[in-house]
Symmetry: C2
Subunit: 149 residues, 2 copies
Amino acid sequence: MANKINAINLKDRFHKLGYKYTEQRQMVVDVLFEHPVLHLSSEDICEYFKQKNINIGQSTVYRTLILLEKMQIVRSINLDDGFTRYELLNHDEEHAHHHLICSKCGSIIDIKKDLLKDLEKQIFKDYHFKVQDHCLKFYGECDNCKDKN
Amino acid sequence: MANKINAINLKDRFHKLGYKYTEQRQMVVDVLFEHPVLHLSSEDICEYFKQKNINIGQSTVYRTLILLEKMQIVRSINLDDGFTRYELLNHDEEHAHHHLICSKCGSIIDIKKDLLKDLEKQIFKDYHFKVQDHCLKFYGECDNCKDKN
DNA sequence: AGCAGTATTGCATTTCAATTTCATTATACT
DNA sequence: AGTATAATGAAATTGAAATGCAATACTGCT
């Protein structure tokens, strides 16, 4: 777990890359850590701060998320709702994990296990295309919604 | 091939659904049929008309694409370039096909074969999630770009 | 500790794809 | 052909994302 990101070594990481670990950046990171299951958008985070009467400009939140992505602390994902969403990058995972998106209730289920390794080998064989990352989403009906019919 | 969409039965399809088969809609469909390999955006199509001195409003193109999607003639896809792109829906394919996206040159390769059937069965077993459709993109280096190093 | 240089912040503004409005025009059915 | 209805397109609007810039805060240096 040497690679694990946490609040303890984040400051160092910022400094090593020449960035300042400001209060605002810290707070954005904190929100992400406090809600590891959610897939927060920039707007969500702004709204969260507003409700807690914390004053951080929306452009700061935007720029922080972009910075965090560059630092490989978060990954941006598109869950087809018109917002760029972010999730903490787990360094145990080599690639992006997958998402199940329920068409009925909109709930998102993360699949942490990489299910595509074999496919990527096959794609290299068939297309000589060297896969570096992937994005896999499944749309359908979740367990809860299935019962409601 | 009873299901195959073509210019011959398109008019009927519009009429059966209560839509008018206008010249503009016809031309949008024609552009899509003429470029089955490309993944045209609304803007691409508008640009194409402009270059041919064909006058069709951008909102008409937008609305036509949305209508064609509703009619299951096209599918909208997101290739992460900020544009909604469209491709003809092949009714031989049960699900969306996959895309290889080269990070170097931006070229897009379609994979028509459904590689996810087994995974979807497994997802139903593990998560009780009934997959209806999917979206799979691979990012990496295409055959051409690999040689250039 | 105080200073200087630089990075960051946040308000306001801009960008741009996408969508909507509404008066005009075209289509399909009788 | 006439009529009801749908479609068109120019222009305006929306909303997420990005940017400019003056004010502010942070860090390293003395």
